[in-house]
């Protein structure tokens, strides 16, 4: 009897162990959302968009944030850096290391596409969403803006690039697309952002209508001729719209722009928000500061490791073959010349580049870290676009539209007046009778004085047509190597992209980089 009872347990056991096996095997992640869940509702898309802001911001911090500024006419690598990292040195030397295999560039490329792609997916999801329409359109505007800001950067530096449209993945694939098509997309997306973004945002991480207008203005102004998208009038209209909004003005004191206690000022159209706390610090001073100071005190606010330093042209006075005019307050606000620390002059260390006590970039110094924490925690906001840039771009457009006197007026009365402390000496005034071409030349220098190290210089050089000549003349390493050529205006498509992207082959490589 007992045995039979025991036998009776068997079916029960089998039953219990097989019941609801589909449930048993369905184990979903408990601390992450799947892509489907994220894009299914606005409540989740919102934090996704803030995530994109964070990723976009992070592309501008630390070492990577300065890769596009290396090899310029205003900034170059420190001597020790050039000696220690050949791929990175190639960005300044324009030698054989600036090749598809260049890892420093590959990293920048690889960092940006996931942002573009996630923005594209958000755009598609929002387009089909039916929740709260007002909120949806704002989010759509933000996603469109981020998509555009990053795509703009990629096409400026690499030329023809894939267009990521989540709704047309099968049609477009990931092949390189002609510039007119790339710019058509940029303009379309930015126009949407202009039309739907709010005029102000209390959350400073988020972009506004005017930031979109300014960026769209830049797209019209910076678009290469081959894109057929360059349009000075449309650009001027956008900049004019920002100016006419009355929401922005130049800060009276130039130095206040870089005072961490005065973030998100009336001059700021958008800045990347950072703090002194990891992971929201930006480590920029670690890259910009001087090693000679770092060796004295790891908590010296202008110490660092000399990744990028100003070129001689960018730190010298005009009388010495540099860019600076006497009386321009922007000079010492942008560049550190004085390295006396605690009353002691630092000394050069053996075994380094020898340029550690040459003038250094000052705009990223974060005095809040002084004495209490490492400059690794530097975390001042980094400016993306500010009103002075809008004014200068607007002036440029006017000049191109043959309204040079008006353009000179804007430069003199606003940007340069502030630069000279509120009163522009007569000798420093630009002549209203400048020719269009003279204006262009002077503007390139003015932009350097106003905006140096803020990240627009490489694009400015590319569109000016003086990329090769100015870099060769002003960049120490490019001059030494003497190998820079016109084709270097575009970076090489990374080797890993060519190998892994079935839509891009060796033959699609940018001209000049093929053996």
């Amino acid at each position: 009897m007992k045995r039979r009872a025991a036998l009776g347990i068997l079916p029960v056991m089998i039953l219990v162990s097989t019941v609801s096996c589909t449930d048993f095997l369905d184990q979903q992640p408990q601390t992450a959302l799947t892509q489907e869940q994220v894009f299914a509702k606005l409540e989740n898309i919102d934090p996704l968009i803030t995530g994109l802001y964070t990723n976009w911001r992070n592309a501008r911090k630390d070492r990577g944030g300065f890769m596009f500024q290396l090899g310029g006419d205003e900034s170059q690598q420190g001597a020790f850096q050039v000696r220690s990292e050949a791929d990175q040195a190639g960005l300044d030397r324009y030698d054989g290391f600036l090749a598809p295999r260049n890892n420093a560039l590959t990293q920048q490329w690889d960092l940006r596409w996931p942002i573009v792609s996630a923005a594209a997916k958000a755009i598609l999801a929002l387009q089909t969403n039916t929740e709260d329409e007002a909120k949806r359109n704002v989010l759509l505007g933000e996603a469109s803006f981020i998509w555009s800001a990053v795509t703009f950067e990629l096409t400026q530096y690499w030329g023809e690039i894939p267009i990521i449209d989540a709704g047309k993945l099968n049609e477009f694939g990931t092949s390189r697309k002609p510039l007119p098509q790339v710019y058509e997309y940029l303009i379309k997306n930015l126009q949407f952002a202009v039309d739907h973004l709010p005029e102000t945002q209390t959350d400073k991480r988020r972009v506004t209508k005017y930031a979109a207008m300014a960026l769209l203005g830049k797209v019209y102004l910076y678009a290469p001729q081959e894109s057929n998208a360059r349009d000075y009038q449309k650009a001027a209209d956008m900049f004019d719209g920002v100016i006419k909004s009355g929401k922005y003005s130049l800060l009276p004191k130039f130095g206040d722009l870089f005072d961490p206690s005065k973030p998100n000022s009336t001059e700021s159209l958008y800045e990347f928000q950072f703090t002194n706390t990891y992971p929201d610090n930006n480590q920029t001073q670690w890259q910009m500061g001087s090693r000679a100071l770092a060796s004295i005190d790891g908590n010296c606010a202008f110490g660092g490791y000399d990744l990028m330093v100003p070129t001689a042209y960018a730190y010298k006075d005009a009388t010495n073959g540099g860019v600076w005019e006497a009386g321009d307050v922007r000079k010492t606000a942008s560049i550190r010349y004085d390295f006396i620390y605690n009353g002691q002059p630092p000394k050069l260390l053996s075994g380094f580049g020898g340029d550690e006590l040459d003038p250094h970039v000052k705009k990223f110094e974060d005095p809040r870290t002084q004495g209490t924490m490492s400059f690794w925690y530097s975390g001042k906001n980094i400016i993306y676009m500010r009103y002075a840039d809008v004014l200068l771009c607007y002036a440029e457009c006017l000049n191109e539209l043959k309204r040079t006197p008006e353009a000179v007026g804007i430069v003199n009365n606003q940007v340069r007046t502030r630069a000279f402390g509120g009163t522009l000496p007569v000798t420093m005034k630009w002549n209203e009778g400048l020719s269009q071409d003279e204006f262009r030349t002077k503007m390139l220098d003015e932009r350097m004085r106003e905006l140096c190290f803020e990240g627009w210089r490489r694009m400015d050089l590319i569109r000016s047509g003086k990329f090769v000549s100015l870099i060769k003349a002003r960049n120490r390493w490019a001059a030494e190597s003497n190998t820079i050529q016109e084709f270097h205006k575009k970076y090489p498509i990374p080797l890993t992209e060519v190998l892994q992207n079935e839509d891009i082959s060796d033959a699609d490589q940018n001209q000049g980089y093929l053996p």
Binding site: R3, I14, T34, N103, S117, I164, G298, F352, S374, P515
Partner: protein, 1012 residues
């Protein structure tokens, strides 16, 4: 066979009733294989176990028995019991089988099966072999002893050795086999198993034997069976050993003076490179050796002039010390058995303040409650405590500047004036406390019901629970703290692993005439849960409370919290049928059907069948004339094994919440979810033969295997234009084939003198036979920027998984080459006399990515081990070697040391560097700060890592019987073992097997085994 114990019990009952006249018999007990006398074996009258005697040194005994009907039972530790009817014999010749071979049952997936019916390729190691290597780690005990198992020991205290069976069958996931301990499948933490508790280890190598484990069997299965008590008198045994440990080999680093000279040379060469007309000697005198040296700091010049060289590694290391104690109590009755064991192990690591302590206990019980009902448990508990040392202590000290005086003054170490903020002063780093406390309960509990004869229903519930706490405190006095401006950092972490397994089986075993049939069906459910949480707190008023007072942290904004919860499940249905005829023909068919939560909804299930046949030819009558051949068994097996060891939730693209900038954001983790992921399926063919010759004095087991894996799982890096950086997918096909031999020989089988030798040889080779689409290569990106194509880990169609992809080293450029290469494009690198020149593969005068190719592979041609075991009277000498031939290795350590220009640690081999006077060398010249091809760009640094290692040498002495019995001891053995005492290799890194992370160690151990 399998009902032996029952039969014994039955016969005993019968025998007790029969009594007649008494007879005195003599006899001798020997080992069946070695023919060595077995001393200390108990010979007992079956009818009355209290009437017993013990064999002497020559294995002989004398016993008074009741008459011809009397039966005696001979029992000895490590052997299978034998029962003999006295009959008319006056001298009994008794031969004992070793226990592991005799253990005729083995528990698989919650059911007991006949070991004999494991028709596939199985290697068995018994307790005696395991105890040859004094170690806390069972993997280490297997090293070199199983053909086809490649064991790499880990030299860090308390860490697991890794084991790989039959080479590479998968790319990235689960090259380790699964471990099954008394039926419980465990993942990792093998070092919590006490080798002294283990009765046998069976390594299942082919699909025919692993198919019962289905989806998890693809990389082999290691079945561990722990000891059980046996029927008879209770027994106590005590094992202890003490060991002294030191690094077996450090790399030969340049001392102060040589490093100084190297730097002078490197700077001077760079000076001439830039100023071809410059005065080298004057530059050295003025700019390098002078007061304002460009190259040297004052302290370096001082050290050089005083002829000093400092050894930082010495300052942070010491002699390691280990001790291990195990005590067992075992015994049993006809109704049940018990085995209790307690273990204590204590290690002091070679790096100061590193250590490991473990306290463990085990209870194995089995009890028949009713004639048809049996319950049992195999339960062990382990408490271990690791004293961690910050990893930088060793890694920084190992490459510190020999010109820098050893003291705690600085936060960071330096070369010249270059304070390297990554090189934390190791003397300060020693003050970082790291404690890990881990508790593990591993318990398998079963109930076995036998409702009718030969039918067994068995249900097993198993737990494997690990609770682990990890604590760190980094004081303010360290470089780590200064660099991160933390003012003290305390971390607490809790990890909880909770694995449940429930197996239900029903089996029917029946012998009728020459036929034997066994049928098994069952289900298995597994649920593995894991969670962790971690708190990092920063900013403390002082270092006094260490990690213990998180409430005192004042940098609240830096506080970091993290946690995760992961659950995976596996559900299986299995069936197995064994049939044998006359113990001559064997057939085993297995089918397992597995569902796993790791795969997407449509691909959760997979079926894993196998079929194995064996034919024992020596049972044929025509073979009985062939005297030399005592055994000849042919085996063939074919089956499909699976692998589900992929990252969790790889079927979905995940967005993780992330707190940053005052709000939560959702950020993709970079992985593209792949809902089409499915099982990796390995089709395995195995052909084998077991051959015994000359009365089994020579036994040979040979196996050939051919494994085709058609759905290789791997993390594939993606073009980031897809929006993701990687995905897990079934990317291609891999073929892996090889042969294995295990040979044992008994060279001498004399009464007092035995000499046994054994040898394993394994060979395997793999080839990628298909990749997805038209793809010819899949690249492995990594390195400092994360985007560099690595030299290893790439997949190339038609090449081995272990290929090396780089430029090929051509030669060191000489003056005579300059004319020929002056127009070559070296992509910005300098190639002047003394520099590395790669091969221009396509001969187009440009060295670019087209010149990188597969320059070699790392796989050994063959590997294994061999040993010799000599016993003369009570003395034993055992040596065990393991070896690998044709093994290649990339040594990042060596390449780094060889790329030094005197401003980082340098290898002694740089003394052989190229100079205009010494041109016949493959070591490039010294050069500072000018880009050129380095060791890492070419295969110049590829190490010939073939090695021969004396992995253990043991000298032992067993107390003579007379002395032992006077002390009332059954078995007493003393031994001294040297582990890893000798090694022959051309490899220039730390160790060809354990790699470059940490040097390997050697250990001298003295130990004692006592049984009474």
């Amino acid at each position: 066979m399998k009902n032996q114990i029952l039969q014994v019990l039955l016969l005993w009952l019968v025998a007790t009733t029969a009594f007649a006249q008494t007879v005195t018999i003599k006899g001798r007990v020997t080992d069946k294989v070695t023919k060595a006398p077995v001393f200390g074996a108990s010979v007992a009258l079956k009818s009355d176990l209290s009437k017993a005697t013990i064999t002497n040194d020559t294995g002989e005994f004398t016993l008074t028995v009741s008459g011809p009907d009397a039966k005696v039972i001979i029992h000895s530790f490590g052997y299978q019991d034998v029962e003999v009817q006295v009959g008319n014999q006056t001298f009994l010749e008794v031969m004992l089988d070793e226990e592991a071979k005799g253990l005729d049952e083995i528990v698989v997936v919650g059911a007991v099966v006949r070991r004999e019916s494991l028709t596939g390729s199985v290697a068995t190691i018994n307790a005696a072999k395991i105890s040859q290597t004094p170690t806390n780690n069972i993997n280490q005990a297997l090293q070199g002893k199983v053909a086809g198992a490649y064991v790499v020991s880990n030299s860090q205290p308390g860490s697991d050795a890794s084991i790989k069976i039959r080479g590479n069958n998968s790319i990235q996931f689960g090259t380790n086999p699964i471990f099954v301990v008394d039926g419980v499948i465990i993942d990792g933490g093998f070092n919590t198993l006490n080798p002294d508790d283990i009765a046998s280890i069976d390594v299942l190598k082919d699909a025919a034997s692993t198919a019962i484990y289905g989806s998890r069997g693809a990389n082999g299965v290691v079945v561990v069976t722990t000891k059980k008590g046996r029927n008879g008198a209770g027994k106590v045994s005590y094992n202890a050993w003490f060991g002294v440990q030191s690094f077996s080999k450090k790399v030969d680093l340049m001392k102060g003076k040589d490093l100084f000279d190297l730097r002078v040379d490197a700077y001077a060469n760079a000076f001439i490179e830039k100023n071809p007309q410059g005065n080298r000697q004057q530059y050295i005198t003025d700019s390098l050796m002078g007061p304002n040296s460009l190259a040297f700091a004052q302290y370096e010049l001082d050290a050089y002039r005083q002829g000093k060289s400092y050894d930082w590694l010495d300052a942070v290391t010491r002699k390691g010390f280990q001790q291990n104690h195990t005590m067992n109590f075992s015994g049993g009755t006809e109704k049940g058995s018990y085995f209790l064991s307690f273990n204590y192990t204590d290690q002091k690591g070679i790096v100061q303040s590193s250590g490991y302590k473990r306290l463990g206990g085990r209870v194995n019980l089995e009890q028949a409650i009713k004639p048809w009902l049996k319950v049992g448990t195999n339960t062990s508990f382990t408490n271990s405590k690791d004293d961690y040392v910050d990893g930088s202590v060793f890694s920084v000290a190992a490459v510190a500047n020999p010109l820098l005086p050893v003291d705690t003054a600085s936060y960071y170490l330096k070369y010249g004036d270059i304070e390297n903020q990554d090189a934390y002063n190791p003397l300060r780093s020693l003050s970082i406390t790291g404690d890990n406390i881990s508790n593990r309960l591993l318990s398998a509990n079963y109930i076995n019901i036998s409702p009718i004869k030969d039918l067994n229903i068995r249900s097993t519930v198993s737990f494997d629970m690990t609770n682990q706490q990890t604590f760190w405190y980094t004081p303010m006095t360290t470089g780590q703290d200064r660099r991160n401006s933390n003012h003290g950092k305390a971390s607490q972490r809790k990890d909880v692993y909770n694995n449940l397994q429930w197996d239900n089986t029903i089996s029917y075993n029946k012998s009728f005439g020459p036929h034997y049939l066994s049928i098994l069906a069952g289900t298995s459910m597994q649920k593995n849960k894991y969670n962790y949480n971690q708190v990092d707190a920063f900013g403390f008023p002082n270092d006094d409370f260490g990690y213990k007072f998180l409430g005192g942290a004042y940098s609240k904004d830096k506080t970091s919290l993290s946690s995760d919860f992961i659950t995976t499940t596996l559900l299986s249905f299995l069936g197995r049928a064994d049939y044998s005829y006359n113990d001559k023909y064997f057939v085993t068919a297995t089918l397992r059907y597995d569902g796993s939560s790791r795969f997407g909804a449509n691909n959760k299930w997979g079926a894993f069948p196998s079929l194995a046949l064996a034919y024992d030819m020596s049972k044929e009558s025509f073979m009985s004339n062939l005297h030399p051949i005592s055994r000849l068994k042919w085996r063939v097996g074919y089956g499909i094994a699976g692998n589900q060891n992929i990252p969790n939730y790889a079927f979905a693209s995940l967005y993780r919440p992330n707190y940053t900038n005052n709000s939560v954001t959702y950020v993709s983790d970079g992985r593209l979810g792949n809902p089409n992921l499915h099982w990796e399926r390995q089709k395995q063919l195995n052909l084998g033969v077991d051959l015994g010759l000359f009365d089994s004095r020579l036994t040979i087991t040979a196996d050939y295997f051919n494994i085709n894996n058609d759905d290789l799982l791997m993390v594939k890096t993606l073009s980031t234009t897809t929006g993701f950086t990687n995905t897990v997918s079934n990317v291609g096909a891999l073929n892996n084939k090889g042969i294995e031999f295990a040979i044992n020989g008994a060279l001498i089988r004399k009464q007092d003198f035995q000499w046994n030798v054994n040898l394993t040889i394994s060979h395997d080779q793999n080839k990628v036979t298909a990749l997805y689409g038209d793809t010819k290569a899949i690249y492995n990106k990594g390195g400092y920027t994360g985007v560099e194509i690595q030299r290893t880990g790439n997949l190339f169609l038609g090449e081995s998984l272990n290929s090396v992809y780089s430029y090929k080293f051509d030669k060191i450029a000489q003056q005579s080459d300059m004319d020929r290469i002056k127009d070559m494009d070296f992509a910005g690198r300098t190639v002047h006399p003394g520099d590395i020149m790669p091969v221009d593969k396509d001969g187009n005068g440009v060295i670019n990515d087209d010149d990188r190719y597969v320059v070699g592979k790392l796989n050994p041609k063959f590997y294994g081990g061999f040993g010799t075991d000599v016993t003369y009277k009570g003395f034993g000498l055992n040596m065990f070697f393991n070896y690998s031939y044709g093994l290649k290795r990339l040594s990042g350590l060596y390449e780094g040391l060889m790329s030094s220009s005197g401003v980082s640690a340098a290898h002694e081999d740089l003394k052989d560097r190229w100079t205009p006077e010494h041109t016949n060398t493959n070591v490039p010249r010294a050069l500072y700060g000018i880009p050129r091809y380095s060791y890492g760009d070419t295969d110049l640094g590829l190490q010939n890592a073939s090695f021969l290692r004396l992995s253990t040498l043991t000298i032992s002495y067993t107390l003579p019987r007379k002395v032992a019995s006077m002390l009332r001891l059954e078995n007493t053995r003393f031994y001294v073992t040297g582990a890893n005492m000798l090694r022959f290799t051309k490899d220039r890194g730390y160790d060809p097997e354990t790699g470059d992370g940490y040097p390997n160690s050697k250990m001298l151990t003295a130990g004692l085994n006592l049984t009474f």
